[in-house]
């Protein structure tokens, strides 16, 4: 009686597609939610609010981290850790995203195991990139001239 597969109107667990118009926020830095998103159509800008401080009033209020496109995903940190959003996401032009809840992620990983590979690869690449930035920052602190080399962007997508 209880051994039925998870189902919803779209037949893919609790996944659902949502559409956004240009400039609409998909998620906001600091808010609590535990969904992740896969871009099905259009582009999404990821940004953080610039921390307030002396001499920063002339700078843009946001720091753009990346512009993501069809097939890219974001928001996985909040899904995995249950912590507030680390950055905001905003549709660039009209965009459609697949919304995945923690329960739906488990269903997807069972049926689409390569998604786990891609997710882990992204997180691994982010750790590598953070390490590079840490080394660069420490080298800069120590006055090393090599510190000026730009480490890769956190959200960079590798394509060869």
């Amino acid at each position: 009686m209880f051994n039925r597969p998870l189902s919803s109107s779209n037949g893919h667990g609790t996944e659902q597609s949502r559409s956004y118009g240009h400039g609409e926020l998909i998620c906001q830095e600091g808010e609590s939610s535990s969904e992740m998103f896969v871009i099905q159509r259009g582009s999404v800008r990821i940004f953080k609010a610039r921390p307030a401080g002396p001499g920063r009033s002339s700078q843009p209020p946001e720091i753009e981290l990346a512009v993501l496109h069809k097939g890219d995903f974001f928001g996985e940190m909040s899904l995995l850790e249950g912590l507030p959003r680390d950055a905001s996401a905003q549709a660039q032009g009209s965009a459609e995203v697949l919304v995945i809840t923690p329960g739906a992620l488990l269903v997807r990983l069972r049926r689409d195991p390569t998604f786990a590979f891609e997710l882990l690869r992204r997180l691994s690449s982010r750790v590598r990139s953070l390490n590079a930035r840490l080394i660069a920052a420490l080298a800069e602190q120590a006055g090393d001239p090599l510190a000026s080399a730009q480490p890769p962007l956190l959200y960079a997508t590798e394509s060869k």
């Binding site: 097939g71 890219d72 689409d112 060869k160």
Partner: protein, 244 residues
């Protein structure tokens, strides 16, 4: 390891089973690769290229030489060669990656023109493989000697799988026969892909789920010689020598 790649022109072949006594690949593939080189196409072998579960080592070694030489000519000619690992060649992963020039990958996300294309062997969606990979491997090895008596033994297995899915659909009261590979392709398409290409089943096919969302199976080179051609985002299923 490369899983994301930009490719304007790529041909995808699968299930070559080089080393299998009935594989047409060792005879015809060299010419096919020459053609790809001449026309400026990169090449993706989408799993089960080399037969290590069912073939004798002597025939695998003998048949591989020509194919490896043809691959070398492609690489020397400046073409990229990708090898997506299938269920018959998992053990060859390290050997092939050590062989310079071939890019080994578990799957490939290709951007071509405006299209995003997923290329994957497809065995991860085979219920029998998922249920027990070791038993599946044992069954595959056991079927090896049968190939010498009846070369189309793989068709018996495919027919068994199709029949099983039909029975399951009837038992669940569904009008259309379930197809695990179509379901898997739909799951992937929801992740922003326009086209999904599998191999594994040996059945070449093209299915349009909805406009702009298609599934291909690149078939096999045991008896046939089908392949998927990607040309600046346009994807088509072809037979070597003629369009399918």
């Amino acid at each position: 390891m490369i899983i994301d790649t930009q490719q304007e022109r790529l041909v995808v072949v699968s299930d070559l089973h080089v080393g299998n006594p009935y594989s047409a690949a060792s005879r015809n593939l060299g010419e096919f690769f020459e053609d790809a080189l001449r026309r400026g196409y990169n090449v993706c072998i989408n799993g089960d290229g080399f037969e290590i579960l069912q073939a004798r080592f002597a025939s695998l070694a003998a048949d591989s030489v020509g194919v490896l030489r043809a691959l070398r000519r492609l690489v020397d000619g400046g073409r990229s060669v990708f090898y997506v690992v299938g269920n018959h060649d998992i053990a060859l992963e390290n050997f092939l990656s050590a062989w310079s020039g071939i890019q080994i990958t578990p799957f490939l996300n290709v951007t071509s023109g405006d299209a995003r294309i997923r290329i994957e062997h497809g065995h991860l969606y085979d219920p029998s493989f998922v249920k027990s990979p070791r038993f599946y491997e044992w069954m595959t090895r056991a079927a090896g000697p049968l190939l010498h008596l009846y070369p189309d033994v793989y068709r018996l297995w495919t027919s068994y799988e199709i029949g099983k899915q039909r029975v399951r659909s009837v038992l669940r009261g569904k009008r259309e026969a379930e197809n695990v590979y179509h379901d898997a392709a739909r799951m992937l398409l929801r992740r922003g892909f326009d086209v999904v290409v599998f191999g594994h089943t040996h059945q070449s096919e093209e299915v349009v789920f909805e406009p702009g969302q298609r599934y291909f199976n690149s078939g096999n080179w045991l008896r046939g010689g089908t392949y998927v051609e990607i040309d600046r985002g346009q994807v088509s299923l072809r037979r070597w020598g003629a369009a399918v």
